[in-house]
């Protein structure tokens, strides 16, 4: 029980459960899943289906955030991927053939790879802050997508391509299948290879990772490439669902939703430990919320308000945990010492006393940091 209540997933899971329960009350048929023409239908299936693009991007974002980064450009990549695929389709000799769809999808993914490599280059080689580095592509990207579509909404008619947005496999919507497969791949790739561990090491303590010989640069690069690829797949789904490329609106603000999903899922923006499960829960919360707003009959535009409220509630609920983490990390020096700070013999004293037990925990109990008054920082407020 103790373990459960301390799990970072507790509050997100409870929030999701509450949302689902609310839906059940409003709409008793909410949980019903029926099979029609061999396909699954029902509100829950819709939630999963509609959550898929955001979830995909959030998975990529989780890895980027774990490396102490952030990728603002994924929304633009969504637009570019859709634009490239549709453009490739309409200019193919036979726009309805499966071959044309394969070429279109491959081209889109190839370009996304380059875009991801570009972000990774700026971050890991040039050492530009991730938020700024990806802001460049975020700003220019949608313009590039418009350039590709020449400002038009390109409609396509290709069954193979359309399958990504409206097809089924074994009765399960294609989006759910694709997103599930990618989620599974990532989970296996990060947990069955050493990628996850090395990624977390880089995110938690980059200097220690460097001294241990971890190739931080290539790992960071890899996660940006993956984030762009995931965004491209999401972009293909979104475009396939409407069988068109809308460079202007496709994936608008999806990067923000993805970041929210990651944060709601309990992965800290500060990097390090990440939880793919949490991200899945986060993405589901956001989508269930949107669905709920529809179900209840509130104008769909107001979803953002509820999103904000849920985010605020989740943050406040998680706040004690944040506080505990901060209190543990902070030294008994004046509180906000992001870097530099006092030349710290205090640490030496704390760790250096004879027969001193647990030095990591000591600062939390050290004599009152009387300086908190001057800095007026949250430390005082947090205690």
């Amino acid at each position: 029980m103790n373990r459960l209540t301390r799990s970072p997933l507790l509050w997100p899971l409870l929030a999701l459960a509450a949302l689902l329960l609310f839906n059940l009350v409003v709409n008793p048929g909410f949980f019903a899943v029926r099979i029609q023409d061999g396909h699954l239908f029902g509100s829950l299936v819709d939630v999963l289906k509609n959550a898929a693009p955001t979830l995909l991007i959030a998975i990529g974002m989780t890895l980027v955030i774990a490396s102490r980064g952030i990728d603002l450009s994924v929304g633009a990549v969504v637009a570019i991927a859709g634009a490239i695929a549709c453009n490739s389709l309409v200019s193919a000799p036979d726009p309805t053939s499966a071959g044309a769809a394969v070429v279109a999808i491959s081209t889109a993914l190839g370009v996304a790879l380059l875009l991801g490599a570009w972000n990774g280059l700026l971050v890991s080689v040039f050492g530009i802050q991730p938020i700024i580095a990806t802001l460049v592509l975020m700003t220019a990207g949608r313009g590039i997508a418009m350039l590709i579509t020449d400002g038009q909404i390109i409609t396509v008619d290709n069954d193979t391509y359309g399958w990504l947005g409206g097809g089924h496999l074994l009765g399960i919507p294609a989006q759910v299948v694709v997103a599930g497969l990618i989620l599974l791949t990532v989970a296996l790739l990060t947990r069955r290879t050493a990628l996850g561990m090395l990624l977390e090491a880089v995110g938690i303590n980059p200097e220690a990772a460097r001294l241990a010989g971890v190739r931080s640069r290539s790992i960071v690069w890899t996660v940006y490439v993956f984030a762009a690829l995931a965004a491209a797949v999401a972009g293909l789904m979104i475009s396939a669902q409407v069988t068109a490329a809308d460079a202007n609106r496709a994936g608008l603000f999806i990067e923000l939703d993805a970041i929210l999903a990651v944060v709601i899922g309990g992965t800290s923006l500060a990097g390090g430990r990440y939880s793919l499960t949490g991200t899945v829960v986060g993405a589901l919360i956001l989508q269930t919320l949107t669905t709920t707003v529809y179900t209840v009959g509130i104008p769909p535009d107001m979803t953002t308000l509820f999103k904000a409220l849920v985010v605020i509630v989740v943050f406040l609920l998680q706040a004690p945990r944040l506080r505990a983490v901060m209190a543990r990390r902070r030294r008994p020096a004046p509180p906000p010492l992001p870097s530099g700070g006092l030349p710290d013999e205090a640490a030496a004293v704390l760790t250096g006393g004879p027969a001193l037990g647990d030095d990591e925990h000591t600062p939390a109990h050290a004599p009152a940091p009387t300086a908190s008054g001057t800095t007026g920082s949250g430390r005082g407020a947090l205690r």
């Binding site: 802050q129 004046p334 007026g376």
Partner: protein, 354 residues
């Protein structure tokens, strides 16, 4: 012998002579000396030169582009963005970011329009709008400072909240017929040479001037820069770090609300889908204006130039019938890239010891 006795009491002979006629020349020399490659003044200079080059190109290539009114229209069409960028500059100087500002602009237009529609007098509506902006800013600043949450995520929540509130108030666009707002939208100040400016431009320039004064002539302003330079040092120096950090978000929120009012004058409507992505324009203008996104260095005047550069690019593209509007975004992205890379290189070099 007591210690205090040893402090120099008389004016130090080595101190500079009192101000004289040579003072202005010395100030100029000082400025020149500080304007070395890579310094912030230099970045602003580069942005200024870029602006002149862009405008010159336009004048050379297109008929009528070089007319004074086209230049003044840069201000007329972007007065709201100037105010928004000024508020953003405060936040970015401390090393934070405010993603909510575009949404607060939209919220301001909606609040103003709906209050006026309900028959409230214009001054009251304006006061309510400004107060809402300040309140939202205060809430976000408090969350950033007291809960130690990241500015990015706090203002992201603020953005969703503000956008959501817009929809709560009104989903469709509300037209504005209030005489005061109408006059603000239509009345112009005639200038010599058959040119004009709107009142909004003067408001924006007044905000800019106030911001320059606050940033450079008040302790609050110096603390803003100090926090951006090194927050823990600022705390150790006994500066009011907490109050200042909350303060910059209040300023940004208020500026966003004021920008929303100017935008309302410009559009004469309140609409929840106004100003989507405007926060990105503001951030781009601030960065192009030479302010470091890591904080601590930059000038609001640079942000003004940044806004004008964005405006000129837009004007260039609209004058050229052959170029489509999306070239604006691409050009701005490329400019951002250039500035960010140059910033990176110069800050790397400026760090002593490396």
């Amino acid at each position: 012998m007591t210690v205090s006795d040893t402090r120099p009491t008389a004016p130090d002979p080595a101190a500079p002579p009192p101000a004289g006629p040579g003072d202005r020349r010395r100030a100029w020399q000082r400025w020149l000396r500080s304007t070395t490659t890579g310094s912030r003044t230099f970045s602003v200079l580069v942005t200024g030169v870029l602006l002149v080059v862009l405008f010159g190109t336009g004048s050379a290539r297109y008929e009528n582009f070089g007319s004074p009114q086209v230049a003044l229209n840069l201000l007329v069409d972007n007065a709201h963005l100037v105010v928004l960028a000024v508020g953003m500059t405060f936040v970015i100087l401390t090393g934070g970011i405010d993603l909510s500002s575009g949404a607060v602009v939209a919220l301001s237009t909606v609040i103003a329009a709906s209050l006026l529609e309900a028959g409230w007098p214009a001054p009251v509506a304006i006061a309510v709008v400004l107060a809402t902006g300040a309140l939202l800013g205060w809430l976000m600043g408090a969350a950033v400072h007291h809960l130690q949450l990241q500015p990015f995520i706090v203002t992201l929540a603020g953005m969703f909240l503000a956008r959501g509130l817009c929809f709560v108030i009104s989903v469709p666009s509300i037209p504005i017929r209030d005489p005061f707002f109408q006059s603000m939208a239509q009345d112009v100040v005639e200038l010599p040479g058959n040119t004009f400016l709107t009142y909004s431009v003067f408001i924006a320039l007044a905000v800019l001037a106030a911001a320059v004064w606050v940033l450079h002539r008040t302790r609050f302003g110096r603390t803003v820069y100090a926090i951006g330079g090194n927050e823990s040092s600022a705390a150790l120096m006994g500066l009011a770090v907490g109050r200042t950090k909350v303060g910059v978000y209040v300023i940004s929120g208020t500026c966003s609300a004021l920008a929303g009012l100017l935008f309302t004058f410009y559009m004469l409507s309140g609409y929840s889908l106004h100003a989507i992505g405007m926060e990105l324009d503001a951030i781009a203008a601030v960065v192009i204006g030479g302010t470091l996104l890591t904080g601590g260095a930059g000038y609001v005047v640079g942000s003004l130039l940044g806004v004008l550069v964005l405006g000129t690019i837009q004007a260039l593209i609209s004058f050229d019938g052959g170029l489509s509007s999306w070239w604006t975004r691409i050009t701005v992205g490329v400019l951002l890239l250039v500035f960010v890379v140059v910033q990176r290189l110069t800050t790397r070099r400026a760090r002593p010891g490396t």
